[in-house]
Symmetry: C2
Subunit: 149 residues, 2 copies
DNA sequence: TTAGATGCAAACGGTTTGCAGGGAA
DNA sequence: TTCCCTGCAAACCGTTTGCATCTAA
């Protein structure tokens, strides 16, 4: 079991390494440590949370480097950015396997994930309607738990 | 023709008036002038744009009042807020008639509107899946014009 | 050796807040 | 007259930037 996770992260690291080499970026220890920290935890995070988490793990990087590295990870598709209606960004590691969208609880900000294939039909419709290509999209529902009856 | 628009704005103003009275808020001239300015123009806007537009129309209000009033207009549903992946908010007057979502051009930020009823099916699916109620949602596609062949 | 990366702190910019003065009720 | 609202400016806070230092290549 553990082996699988390690293998999986090896692949991730390789993707990042290839990306860095292809673009002539340096393979600094900071970049790989940030990558590791992100992929070691599930769920969504923001920059400040990541900063604190790394400090707790005794690996302090500057916020500037976090922003810089996240930019690279976004560019190579390993991380996805969200703006859930707030004015600070949240991120998550990209799950190659499971495409999904989000439901956000109004009070707590808690994030749930779902997938409904009909979004693909809507996308096709929009592309056809406007003669455009879609690079990405965002679908988020906001709401609350239903009352118990 | 003009008459229709005026009648329509009378309704809007009445909705706002009722809301203010119901909540014990004062009916200040600033609030109604802001409402008028917003409903006099189509499309999306941000606070700074609205601020400048009002200054050009020789009616200067402070940014604080704009933020304050927009909050009221959001609360009573006359205005809708969007966060199109940037870290500043955009707004639009709520169109009672035509529900719609957005397509944003990556380069220009230009906004197109569309409606696809399948979003309702997805919403119902999500509500059922998580046993939640949805207060609002956001569906936005981002992309580019297709190449001319 | 050197161009690109890091760390730090200051700058930035949209939004929020505190407070004195003003006006709706 | 009351106290909510406005205007102004400062504070706030996530993000970006400038620059001296460091280091991967």
């Amino acid at each position: 079991m553990k082996k699988i996770a390690e293998d999986s992260f090896d692949n991730i690291r390789k993707l990042f390494t290839d990306y860095l080499e292809r673009h002539g970026h340096r393979k600094t220890p900071e970049r790989f440590t940030i990558l590791k920290e992100i992929f070691a935890t599930d769920g969504h995070f923001d920059i400040e949370t990541l900063y604190i988490r790394m400090k707790n793990h005794k690996y302090r990087v500057s916020r500037a480097t976090l922003y810089n590295t996240i930019e690279l990870l976004l560019d190579c598709g390993l991380v996805t950015k969200h703006q859930f209606g707030t004015n600070y960004a949240q991120f998550e590691k990209t799950n190659m396997m499971i495409q999904h969208d989000h439901f956000i609880f109004n009070e707590t900000g808690e994030v749930l994930e779902f997938y409904d294939p009909r979004i693909e039909e809507i996308k096709a419709h929009v592309q056809d309607l406007f003669n455009v290509d879609t690079t990405h999209y965002s679908l988020t529902f906001y709401g609350n738990s239903r009352e118990q009856k």
